[in-house]
Amino acid sequence: MQMQVQDAGEGLVNVALVGRLDTPGVDAIETRLTAHLVPRGARAIVDLSQVAFLGSGGIRMFISIARALGRRGGKLALYAPQPLVAEVLETTSLNDVVPVRADSASAAAAVRG
């Protein structure tokens, strides 16, 4: 699992994830991703376009980070999931509590709103 964090300006952080968000994938990035985003209460958008697999561990990770961000004035949104990953987001109702958008512009609008 690979992760690239980029400051996109105006307080926005873009995170690109590449690989599988299964148990080993979540173990590989959760601590680093949390450390990048949560202490500064980031407004963060996460690019899922190159995530080929998402399991329940990834769902738990996103809720945990989004909740911690919310307590610090930040916000998390996800964007561009592949169809099978999008189905997991819908099945678990993650999209009820974390915005999931089609592209980076609409995800950025969701965390700024």
Binding site: R60, G70, D96
Partner: protein
């Protein structure tokens, strides 16, 4: 396609989980399986085995997991057996948690929701040898 059966046995540890997943991928690579059914098979394996590894261990006993993969024309059946704590996942909730806010959202329980969504059937029995046996049947075709 002719029915095929394969099984593996591995320790209920993170390393065992990884080895088991490698075994599953090799078997699936050898089959003509669409993207969605393959995703579902891997998702079921991920959720059931990670649950066993995380919560199944009994103090003083090595946790072992046996997985059987049965492939037929219309279905794929995964059978998970472990010697851990008795646990019937079929008794758990079927309804997705509808949280109105992040503070209300559950952090757990999603794995079994995903298994139920992916599976055509999902059964549990406690064997006479004192093991958990979970049988999950999936459709070969997307749908």
């Amino acid at each position: 396609m002719p029915a095929a059966r394969a099984e593996t046995d591995f320790p209920g540890t993170h390393a065992g989980f990884a080895a088991g997943f490698d075994w599953l991928r090799e078997r699936l690579d050898a089959q003509e399986l669409g993207a969605a059914p393959r995703y579902n098979v891997e998702l079921v394996f991920e959720e059931i085995v990670s649950n066993i590894v995380s919560y199944g261990a009994v103090r003083g006993r090595e946790l072992r997991i046996r997985v059987t993969l049965e492939s037929a024309a219309a279905t794929i059946v995964l059978i998970f057996e472990d010697n851990g704590i008795a646990f019937d996942p079929c008794q758990r909730t079927t309804a997705p948690p509808h949280a109105r806010s992040l503070e209300e959202a559950q952090l757990g329980g999603f794995g079994l929701i995903l298994v139920r969504h992916a599976a055509r059937s999902f059964t549990y029995e406690r064997t006479s040898a004192g093991c958990n046996r979970v049988t999950v049947t999936l459709q070969r075709a997307a749908g």
